[in-house]
Amino acid sequence: MDPVLLVASIMVSATPILLAAIGEMVVEKAGVLNLGVEGMMITGAVVGFAAAVSTGSPVIGFAAAALASAVLSLSFGFLTQVLLSNQVATGLGLTLVGLGLSALVGASFEGVRAPGLGKLWIPGLAEIPVIGPMVFRHDFMVYVSLALVAGVWAFLKYTRAGLILRAVGEDHESAHALGYKVVRVRLAAIFFGGACAGLGGAYVSLVRVPQWTEGMTAGAGWIALAIVVFASWRPLGVLIGAYLFGGVTVLQLNLQAAGAKVPVELLSMSPYVITILVLVVISARGVHGAPGSLGRSFHAST
């Protein structure tokens, strides 16, 4: 296997998870555990695909996917933040709704081909031997995902709004006492997370596959959740985690294609087994870095 092609395909395979995971990290930083990533991703996948096929423009597809998933995530936001429902149960519900909704919407799009997404050659850099074809000849979403990671890192570290978001996630009672609008900050974070998951889903259906099949995200949303834990809630960690996972996926697919003497099932389950092992190593180290109010409902009593 050509190493240049290998790195390039790892980047493509990591991008959907990276997009979903960086969004979920912001949501969790605000103290909300949204287990509906899978549902939002699959919704993004079908809406993005449908919009791109109908308009012929992948860019419109991505925009529609982000919007649709973000709006869907607001139903989770309304339930958990305003009606104070249990976040775990509501997130699961969101996943079930998303899976059903997407299968319903997507039924008429099975077997259709998506309009291709052009490669963006970064002028100058794309000409560098080896590195050029590896890193600088991708479609624009790969760069968008990397820019999002950098943007989230800078936002959380250097801006006042980022500080408020982290305060809300660490201790919502204190943040509320200081006069920050806990519910509004969280709704905004949930909206952002939904949009990111939608982009990730659309990347699966428009670039990675590129087709629509029912349930096609196949657990990518859950892996995004695992990667946030793996990353100990740090943007750089999310990037590393997503690329590691992308690497494992590409490697096992290549081994399958090369006809390795290992059963196919063993290879297909390896990404999930490795995710579990990584989670164990991370949790055994004892450094969690989970936001203090993660998963707890906030209700201002006064």
Binding site: S85, A89, L96, G100, R184, V229, E265, I276, S283
Partner: protein, 361 residues
């Protein structure tokens, strides 16, 4: 401005009323959805909720299906509800269900073609053990390393699906299947066939087990000290620890019970309605059971009713697919909406609505 005021105790009235409101809301929104799809809404609702039981032509076939589908849902949901009460989120019941079926079937097939009456009970035990062992993975990882049980149990579903694929394609494949994937058909092996106990009722051993589980869970949660410990751990973890309840033991107990019940459900399914190990014999019961557990308010009797209702939507959905050409996925959406509306209306159980001046936080 509307304000929520926490009730000192959850309202008993609303606990019972909210599932009913959720069902009605789902019917209304579902009806609108069917109308948008260009299907007659009232007819669709009637086809889903009424015809499976009372249609002169189809009811004969679909009525027994009610118990066939409700059995595994109730059995799994009972196990899950015990864990949910303690704040232990096993959402990988689907994986435990698959592993129970594969383990139990493997043990049974090892004795093929024995006609011993002991074989079926042995397979049930093996199935329960298989599910239990699969659930012990997240339990051990959680207690030993503090790993999140939600993610681990879910990842294990994908692992289990791959094991199932390999079992049906190679090591449990029927030698008489002419190379096609799938194990021997248990329906053609009377000693282990989990047949209807009374003809045309759908009542098989899995349904009996589900009913026993309902009663046992009721006794455990309402009368037994461990049930009290489980509830205490869920509602006040610190208080539970101070009173000497070991959190690790609760984790093992809850995941163990839910894993074993899901595993047994898988075995009953594979020897009964499904008939054989195939790559897709599992029909997502492990996930739907989560809705059943919540819809039944984590209460054994509630779960019994919720399981029957959810089974009804399954059969009604199939009927609607057949008669009205409704897409199969719409029923999945229907079930998801039901959970959503239930969680939304739940606010009335725990909070009182006050109309007062104030600002949203």
């Amino acid at each position: 401005m509307i304000r929520l005021e926490k009730r000192p105790q959850p309202s008993r009235l609303w606990t019972v009323v909210t599932p009913l409101i959720a069902v009605v809301l789902t019917m209304v929104v579902g009806g609108i959805m069917f109308a948008l799809l260009g299907k007659p809404p009232l007819e669709a609702i009637r086809t889903i909720f009424w015809d499976p039981l009372f249609h002169p032509q189809f009811a004969g076939y679909s009525r027994p299906q009610l118990l066939v589908k409700a059995g595994p849902l109730i059995l799994i949901a009972i196990g899950l509800s015990i864990g949910f009460k303690a704040g232990i989120w096993n959402i990988g019941a689907e994986g435990q269900y698959i592993m129970g079926a594969v383990t139990g079937a493997a043990v049974g097939l090892a004795f093929y073609p024995s006609e011993s009456v002991l074989l079926f009970p042995l397979m049930v035990v093996a199935g329960a053990l298989g599910g239990w062992a699969w659930a012990m993975i997240p339990a051990v990882l959680k207690t030993r390393f503090g790993t999140n049980e939600i993610l681990v149990s879910l990842m294990l579903v994908y692992v289990a699906e791959n094991i199932l694929a390999s079992a049906s394609a190679s090591w449990l494949r029927s030698p008489e299947g002419m190379g096609f994937p799938g194990s021997r058909n248990f329906k053609q092996w009377p000693a282990v066939h989990n047949d209807e106990l009374i003809a045309n009722t759908g009542l098989h051993w899995g349904v009996v087990a589900a009913l026993i589980a309902v009663i046992a869970a009721y006794v455990l949660m309402a009368r037994h000290i461990q049930g009290y410990n489980i509830r205490l751990t869920g509602e006040a973890p610190r208080a539970a620890r101070f009173s000497g309840v070991s959190p690790a033991r609760i984790v093992f107990l809850c995941l163990g019970i839910s894993g074993a019940l899901a595993g047994a459900a898988g075995l009953f399914e594979v020897t009964g309605p499904a008939g054989q190990i195939t790559i897709d014999f599992n029909s997502g019961y492990g996930f739907t059971a989560i809705i059943v557990a919540f819809l039944g308010r984590l209460n054994p009797v509630g779960i019994l009713l919720a399981g029957l209702l959810m089974a009804l939507t399954y059969i009604g959905g199939e009927l609607a697919q057949l008669m009205l050409g409704l897409p199969g996925a719409s029923i999945q959406l229907f079930q998801g909406m039901l959970l959503f509306f239930l969680l939304a209306t739940d606010v009335f159980t725990n909070y009182r609505i006050r109309f007062a001046k104030g600002e949203l936080a």
